[in-house]
C-alpha cells in the first residue's frame, strides 16, 4: 500500500539506525507521547535496536487509558438502562470500571453496540427514535472533529434522542504537565502526528521555547519513528530546542482549519481529570452552547456508585512514565488482555498491552 510499505523498508530502517548510532554521543531520555507510537516502536522492535544511550519513556497518549473510572462507571450505568442503546469504539468495551466493563453489560442483556465512526452512532439514533442513543465520545484532538460533526448534525437535524458521554483530552497540556514536573526526566518529545494533523504545532513551539525541550512531530511507520528519533537526537546533541516536523506529508504547521473550526463550534476547553494522573488544567473538552443539551452526563440523570480502582494496578505510574508495565506485580498474571485490571492492558494504544503482545516480559534496557 502506498505511503505505508515504503516506510517499512528494512534496509532503509537499518540505514537510519546506523545514522542514529553515529550521531549519539551522550545518554538521552526521550518520550513518545502517543500510545500508537509506543505500539509501533515495540511491534517493530525499534526499542531493542536503538543505541544503549537512548532511553524511551512511554507517554500518556492513550485516550482509553486516561478516561476516568468515574466516567466508565457512568457509561456502565447508562448502558444498563433499558431505554438506552449505548454505542462505543471497540477499545472501550473491556476497560474495567469499578465493578465490571461494558462488555459484561452487553453479556447481561444491555444494548451495547460497537461502532467504527461517530456517524454510525448518529445513524443508530435516527433508526431508533424510541430509544436514547448514547455515544461514548472519547479521544484526543484527532477524534474530536469527527465527534463534533456528529453533534453538529444532531443539532442541525433535530435528532433529539442522540447523546454523547464525553471524555475528550488534549495533548499539549499533558506534555506541559510532564515537562514542568520537578522530577521530569524527559529531554525530548516525539509529538503525535495525527493529533498535529488536526491542531498544527504552534502550541508545541510555545512548549519547546518555555521548557527548552526539542519536539519532533512524528508519523507512525517504522521509518517515520526512526527519522523522528534521529531528528530529536541531532537536536539534543546540538543543544537546540526547536519544533521539527517529520510527518510533513500529513501535518502542516497551521493544522487543519476546517477540523479546528468544528471543534471550536461545538466544544469548550475545561480542566479534566486523567485516570491515574489527576486533574490537568485546560486539558479537556466538553459540549458548549446549543450543543450542551446533547451531553449525556447532564441530560440523562446518571447515578453510579462511588468509583474504585483495582488496588494492585500501577496504571497511573505507567501512564506517567515512572514505571514500566513489567514492573507491575500483576503484569501477565492477574492482569492480561483477556482479564485485565487496568485500561492500558486492553487498549490498542496501552503500554501494558504493547509489552504483553510483543513479548517484553522482562525489563529491557530501552
Amino acid at each position: 500500500m502506498r505511503y505505508l510499505d515504503e516506510y517499512r523498508d528494512g534496509a532503509a530502517a537499518q540505514k537510519m539506525l546506523r545514522q542514529i548510532a553515529r550521531t549519539v554521543t551522550h545518554p538521552w531520555t526521550v518520550m513518545e507521547v502517543c500510545g500508537s507510537h509506543t505500539h509501533a516502536l515495540l511491534k517493530y522492535g525499534i526499542d531493542q535496536l536503538l543505541p544503549d544511550e537512548l532511553t524511551l519513556i512511554h507517554g500518556p497518549g492513550c485516550p482509553v487509558c486516561v478516561t476516568p473510572v468515574e466516567i466508565i462507571d457512568q457509561a456502565i450505568a447508562l448502558a444498563t438502562r433499558p431505554d438506552v442503546i449505548f454505542a462505543s469504539y471497540g477499545d472501550m468495551l473491556r476497560v474495567p470500571g469499578s465493578g465490571k466493563d461494558l462488555l459484561s453489560v452487553k453479556a447481561e442483556g444491555g444494548d451495547v453496540r460497537m461502532v467504527y465512526s461517530p456517524l454510525d452512532a448518529l445513524k443508530l439514533a435516527r433508526e431508533n427514535p424510541d430509544k436514547k442513543l448514547v455515544f461514548f465520545a472519547i479521544g484526543f484532538e484527532t477524534t474530536a472533529p469527527a465527534n463534533a460533526m456528529a453533534v453538529f448534525l444532531a443539532e442541525r437535524d433535530g435528532v433529539d434522542n442522540f447523546f454523547m458521554l464525553t471524555s475528550h483530552v488534549l495533548i499539549p497540556p499533558a506534555m506541559e504537565a510532564i515537562a514542568a514536573a520537578p522530577a521530569n526526566r524527559v529531554q525530548g518529545f516525539l509529538a503525535p502526528g495525527h493529533v498535529c494533523t488536526v491542531t498544527g504545532y504552534t502550541q508545541y513551539e510555545t512548549l519547546a521555547a518555555k521548557y527548552h525541550i526539542p519536539i519532533v512531530v512524528t508519523g507512525f511507520e517504522p521509518l517515520d519513528l526512526l527519522q523522528g528519533i534521529y531528528m530529536l537526537v541531532k537536536q539534543l546533541e546540538a543543544g537546540s530546542h526547536e519544533v521539527e516536523n517529520q510527518y510533513a506529508r500529513s501535518v502542516k504547521r497551521e493544522g487543519n482549519p476546517q477540523a479546528q473550526a468544528l471543534i471550536e463550534k461545538v466544544f469548550e476547553v475545561i480542566d479534566h481529570k486523567w485516570r491515574g494522573i489527576g486533574v490537568i488544567p485546560a486539558s479537556g473538552l466538553r459540549l458548549k452552547g446549543p450543543y450542551a443539551r446533547f451531553d449525556a452526563a447532564k441530560a440523562l440523570a446518571v447515578e453510579s456508585p462511588p468509583s474504585e480502582e483495582a488496588p494492585v494496578c500501577i496504571a497511573g505510574l505507567v501512564l506517567q512514565g515512572v514505571k514500566k508495565p513489567v514492573d507491575c506485580p500483576a503484569f501477565g498474571t492477574a492482569c492480561t488482555p483477556e482479564h485485565c485490571l487496568g485500561a492500558p492492558m486492553v487498549s490498542s494504544e496501552g503500554a501494558c498491552a504493547a509489552y504483553y503482545l510483543y513479548a517484553r516480559r522482562e525489563e529491557t534496557r530501552a
Binding site: 500500500m1 502506498r2 505511503y3 505505508l4 515504503e6 516506510y7 532503509a12 540505514k15 537510519m16 545514522q19 502517543c34 500510545g35 500508537s36 497518549g61 492513550c62 485516550p63 482509553v64 469504539y89 477499545d91 467504527y116 465512526s117 461517530p118 456517524l119 454510525d120 472519547i138 479521544g139 484526543f140 484527532t142 477524534t143 472533529p145 469527527a146 460533526m149 448534525l153 437535524d157 503525535p192 502526528g193 495525527h194 493529533v195 494533523t197 488536526v198 507512525f220 521509518l223 517515520d224 527519522q227 517529520q246 510533513a248 506529508r249 500529513s250 501535518v251 502542516k252 487543519n256 476546517q258 477540523a259 468544528l262 487498549s347 490498542s348 494504544e349
Partner: protein, 81 residues
C-alpha cells in the same frame, strides 16, 4: 485510537445528510470516508482516514523528504568513508 490510514479516493458523492462521502481504497479494501474536513480533496488524491473522516490530504512531495534524507546519508557516509 488515533489510528489514521492512508488510502486513495476512487469516487465522491453527496450522501443523504448533505455531506461529501468518498469511496477510499486501502490496498484491497474499500471503505466510505467523509471529506468535509478536507474540502479540496479530489478523486485520485490520497487521504489519511480516521474514524470515518479524512483528516488530511497526503502531500506527495513532502512524502519524498524521508527518502531524500536517506540518499543524503549515503552521500555523507561515502564522503566520510
Amino acid at each position: 485510537m488515533c489510528l489514521g490510514i492512508p488510502g486513495e479516493i476512487i469516487s465522491i458523492e453527496e450522501d443523504d445528510q448533505q455531506m461529501r462521502k468518498a469511496k477510499v481504497r486501502f490496498g484491497g479494501i474499500t471503505r466510505d470516508a467523509y471529506l468535509d474536513l478536507v474540502p479540496d480533496a479530489a478523486v485520485g488524491d490520497y487521504v489519511i482516514v480516521h474514524v470515518g473522516f479524512a483528516i488530511s490530504k497526503v502531500d506527495a512531495e513532502k512524502a519524498q523528504q524521508t527518502f531524500d534524507l536517506l540518499e543524503e546519508m549515503d552521500k555523507d557516509n561515502a564522503l566520510s568513508g
